[in-house]
């Protein structure tokens, strides 16, 4: 593995590539804030970022953000409003891509950010949905980022905070009234998992430089399907790295 970038920097670069030019992106906390900044500065100059706190931006904030509500994210915003207005756009299908963080994900892309174990007396109480459930249900497509560990990529999440493809059966989302298309990628510290068109079970699409398919499979809590076309994830380019380091100069998100 190259020493020239961290796993988080690679994840940010991969996440940025998920953003298409012109997309309205519902930007989550932490790495996605950087991913938006990187994309906006390279291949997606017409993207718009929507933040649940109640902001829309074009240009990324000019200074480091610890949270999406930090003052540099407000200065120069295109809209400072109420959360429900940002959610209204997403409920109308006007959000092309959302990012969600998760503590646990299963093979069908269901995320748990609420309870590990029985909700009535959990082993671990996680912080909860925030906007995650909203994004998973309402955005047109979404991506999650996660550290690749067997305790995080699990056979079955103990609580579905943010639904992916449910039980994996065809048409599960539509049958249950979920508006958006569902997850398109799980970007981890080891590789990128994707989903078949129309949803279903995740498969390994690419492995990060320095890692192997077997290693990824070993760190996954279910029997991982691997694409015939599995490839090596493209490393961050010089310009992606420069962008990342400009927006996270102290490495708060990408070097800790």
């Amino acid at each position: 593995m190259s020493e020239s970038y961290t796993p988080q920097e690679l994840m940010v670069a991969v996440a940025a590539r998920e953003i298409r030019d012109g997309d309205v992106v519902f930007v989550g906390m932490r790495l996605p804030i950087l991913a938006y900044a990187v994309a906006r500065n390279s291949h997606a100059p017409e993207a718009r970022g929507l933040f649940e706190v109640g902001l829309m931006r074009d240009q990324p904030a000019s200074a480091f953000l610890g949270t999406m509500g930090d003052p540099p994210n407000v200065a120069g915003a295109l809209w400072a409003t109420r959360m429900s207005n940002a959610m209204a756009l997403m409920a109308q299908g006007e959000v092309d891509l959302g990012f969600i963080g998760g503590a646990e994900v299963d093979r069908f892309g269901n995320l748990n950010t609420s309870y590990v174990g029985d909700p009535r007396r959990p082993e671990v109480k996680l912080p909860g949905s925030g906007g995650g459930a909203d994004i998973s249900i309402l955005s047109r497509r979404w991506v999650t980022l996660m550290s690749h560990e067997p305790r995080r990529l699990v056979e079955k999440v103990s609580f579905v905070t943010s639904p992916g493809y449910g039980d994996g059966s065809p048409g599960w989302r539509k049958r249950n009234g979920l508006l958006g298309g569902g997850p398109v990628a799980i970007i981890t510290t080891l590789g990128v998992l994707r989903f078949p068109e129309g949803g279903g079970e995740a498969y390994l699409a690419s492995v990060h430089p320095g890692h192997t398919v077997d290693e990824v499979a070993a760190y996954t809590g279910w029997s991982l399907q691997v694409s015939d076309a599995v490839s090596e994830t493209s490393a961050p380019t010089e310009s992606e790295l420069a962008s990342i380091r400009r927006f996270d100069p102290e490495g708060f998100w990408t070097r800790s």
Partner: protein, 297 residues
Amino acid sequence: MGLKVMSMAQAIERFVPDGATIALGLALEPLIPFAAGHEIIRQQRRDLELVGPISDALFDQLIGAGCVRRVTAAWVGNVSEGLGHCYRRACEQEVPHALEVHDHSNFSISLALWAAAWNVPSLPTRTLLGSDILRTNPDLSVADGLVQVKAVRPDVAIVHVQRADELGRAHAWGPLGVSEEAGLASGRIVISCEELVDASVTLSDPNRILFPETKVAAVVPEPGGAHPSPVQGFFKRDHAFHRDYAERSRTVEGFEGWLRQWVLDVPDRAEYLKQIDPDALRIKHHRPSVPADFGDE
């Protein structure tokens, strides 16, 4: 005139009784009324229900201090650091005591407050379909393919703003989260502000007035009252402070030490601020909005 202006101790004493349902942290990450929360802890309020979308670390602190019976929220933790350790201990070990949790998403908590603001039993939405949150929160139900979100009516909303006048006309700017619907949904509103200003300032821009003054019960001049959360035009977020809190609150003993240092052994916000370096956090680059002309004749 001016009878609404009081100290934080007076405002909490008068408007936050034991058992109250209180909404706070309503702009999400910015403008969190930490000074009010700390005074609630000092006055040893009990059995509170906390309502809010994301409170950053304030809900965690109130829970750790034993003030809280129920949390009705979308997220409880520490935004830049992750898990809320006091919240974990309460839910996992009933330390300091058991906690009831009514899980929401950000959108659904907003709708619960709009339902109360408009005085209807519930509002419908497509969000949460397919989520197990529907299983654990008794205030959510499904009918005709839509989720019905039951109204949440706080007794009081506590809101920190940039400036307010003595009659309770408050100007806040930056993203507003659920501040507006929470204020309208609540029986009363307690305002804390960076600056107490003349009514000529607030009334110069009635569009920026956040709430009807008839709902505002108290105005507390409390500069720095949102630290460590950010206040547009006044203070940056204190990320290091959040990190320190996250580390120290990992254990009960650590949390108790933190609580003594920053809350229990401090009489008020002015003393609290002496322990930090406000100038390092103060925003020094000004970006005044271009005025709007409210000329009428």
